[in-house]
């Protein structure tokens, strides 16, 4: 369906000028290789700056890679970037082109620019707005909507004018659970009825685990793993995540706690530890009894998530992923 091979893009170094510091050369994507199959929801997961958006901008023909190939449904997108618009629908992170339009006109105009005749564009607009529950706010300009509603309206424009591939860059940012559910059921309906494929960018671990068929984990421009979410989690199946939240600060006078410190990822009052099951049990026993318990506010014991996979694979950002 969509094959990406050896995709490499380097932003040149910027020489410092007055008021603007110099920036070294940045490799946005480094030999990225992906194979997206028809009808699957394929995810790119990684913290901010990992190169997810750079990958999709090259897949959608918006950015020319230095080297590498992108092939979608048999079309070479690097050589013919203009063909991408006729194969896929793209939802980017920006909505400035649509901000001053009403929801209804944004969807209709996008449909017409996707090549639909007027009547068909209006019919699809009405169907999509209805499907996503946007009809009550169809007459309001996007700029006046809340962040989540605006995002949903932009998602609606991506659905007007059917395409076999949807490329969605963090589609559910800022959305409440109702809107999220509307997005994923709209995606599922298109998958079931037409075999639509989805390439999704996310930094939300829970979303990645629940909606994706397969996921590529990106770190500093490289794909560090690619498998089903459960397949990836098996790699760290022998680990348990222990999270400790201290009332004020950690009771370092307790020797067992002091010994744990160097293995913990600290984030304010929260310590995160990745341990073997046996060891985790010992830690929990320690902190829930004796002197440490008085300083403990809360603790959780959880099976590994994709975030643990990311860290276990050597992901550099310690806190880039979101669990919502």
């Amino acid at each position: 369906m969509c094959a990406v091979r050896g995709l490499t893009k380097t932003y040149p170094a910027v020489r410092g000028r007055r008021g603007a510091p110099a920036a070294p050369e940045v490799r946005a994507t480094d030999d990225v290789r992906l194979e997206v199959r028809r009808g699957e929801i394929f995810g790119l997961l990684g913290p901010n700056g990992a190169g997810k958006t750079s990958v999709v901008r090259q897949v959608t023909g918006l950015m020319r890679p230095d080297t590498g190939t992108v092939e979608i449904l048999g079309h070479d997108i690097v050589r013919h970037p203009e063909r991408a618009a006729r194969i896929l629908a793209y939802l980017g992170q920006e909505s400035t082109a649509l901000d001053e339009l009403t929801v209804s006109l944004a969807a209709e105009t996008t449909g017409r620019l996707r090549g639909l005749p007027l009547r068909e564009a209006r019919r699809e607009r009405d169907a999509v707005l209805d499907e996503l529950g946007l009809t009550p706010i169809a007459g309001r300009p996007l700029r006046k909507l809340s962040g989540g509603q605006r995002r949903l309206a932009c998602f609606a424009t991506a659905l007007v004018g059917e395409r076999p591939l949807l490329v969605l860059d963090e589609p559910t940012t800022g959305m409440d659970p109702v809107a999220r559910r509307a997005v994923w059921s709209a995606v599922d309906r298109r998958r079931a009825e037409r075999g639509t494929t989805v390439l999704l960018v996310t930094h939300n671990v829970i979303e990645a685990e629940t909606v994706l068929d397969r996921v590529a984990v990106l770190d500093r421009g490289r794909v560090i793993a690619c498998d089903t979410p459960s397949g990836l989690k098996e790699q760290v199946a022998d680990e348990v995540r222990v999270e400790l939240v201290w009332r004020e600060r950690a009771p370092l006078d307790v020797p067992e706690v002091a010994a744990l410190r160097e293995r913990a990822v600290e984030s304010g009052r929260r310590w995160t530890l990745r341990l073997g099951p046996e060891e985790a049990r010992t830690v929990v026993a320690t902190v829930t009894g004796g002197a440490a318990f008085a300083a403990l506010d809360d603790f959780t014991l959880a099976t590994p998530s994709l975030e643990d996979v990311y860290l276990a694979l050597g992901g550099a950002a310690r806190q880039g992923l979101v669990r919502v």
Partner: protein, 274 residues
């Protein structure tokens, strides 16, 4: 939340899909030029209701203010013709050149062009649709200024119908220039500066009567496309307008319009794929 496993989807054959697709899939049709231009034009026009109306008032008030101010300086005759025509075309310069340069500058800087770049729409449709809409925004202000100025200076209203040619043609020239500024400027601030400078030039060189200008300034005035719109309009205030010259001036606007819109289209194409 996704409940449909990929394996059971209609027509899906994952094992087969592993092999490269031999036959390229059929592409969805392109959006055709005229319908997509109409769609962009309509969308842009609707933006006026939300965002642009205060600015249109500013454009008109500015020109009306200049007319009132110049009334104390200019008595009548050739100079009055130049002042009225210059103020009317200034509205076009303010909206089509200045505001459009800012719009495209911001759209480009914020990544808003991605939306259009990932739709199968001809670049010319986006540029022409937006330029047409901004030129249309100028119609009420230009009419008000021209009628008010003619009454104020006692000029005949007989040939004001020529505005039906002056507005679209000088609109095309100035909007094309504005779009090109906005799309070529590497930073949005620079697009704003270029738009403002263009408008200031149209103000100073268009409204003031040319007879008293020094030679180099008059040469600069001749380089400015808005000058020809001003001249065309000014000529029609005379009792017996020389229509050949009017058409000549309008032809210059048309040529500049075609060239600048072509440059803007090229700039759009360049800005869309980075």
């Amino acid at each position: 939340m996704s409940v449909v496993p990929a394996e059971v989807l209609p027509g899906s054959a994952l094992a087969v899909d592993e092999q490269p697709v031999r036959q390229a899939a059929e592409l969805a049709p392109r959006a055709r030029l005229w319908p997509s231009m109409a769609a962009v034009y309509r969308a842009q026009l609707s933006r006026a209701r939300v965002a642009r109306i205060p600015l249109l008032f500013v454009a008109t008030f500015q020109s009306v203010g200049i007319l009132i101010m110049m009334r104390g300086v200019v008595e009548g005759g050739r100079e009055a013709e130049a002042v009225v025509a210059g103020s009317a075309v200034l509205v076009v310069a303010f909206v089509a050149l200045n505001l459009l340069a800012q719009y495209f500058g911001q759209l480009r800087a914020s990544g808003g062009l991605d939306h259009y770049a990932t739709l199968p729409v001809p670049p010319a449709a986006v540029v022409l649709g937006a330029a047409g809409a901004y030129a249309s925004f100028t119609v009420p202000g230009t009419l008000v200024t021209a009628v008010f100025g003619s009454l104020l200076f006692g000029l005949p209203l007989t040939h004001l119908w020529v505005l039906a040619l002056v507005i679209p043609l000088s609109g095309a020239a100035l909007a094309g220039l504005g779009a090109a500024f906005g799309l070529l400027a590497p930073r949005p601030e620079l697009a704003t500066v270029l738009g403002q400078l263009g408008m200031s030039a149209a103000l100073l060189l268009g409204v003031l009567p040319p007879d008293r200008m020094p030679e180099p300034v008059r040469f600069t005035r001749d380089l400015l496309p808005s000058t020809y719109g001003v001249e065309a309009l000014a000529r029609t205030f005379r009792p017996h307008p020389d229509w050949a010259f009017v058409l000549g001036d309008l032809a210059v606007c048309a040529v500049v319009g075609v060239v600048s819109l072509a440059v803007a289209t090229w700039a759009y194409r360049r800005a869309a794929v980075r």
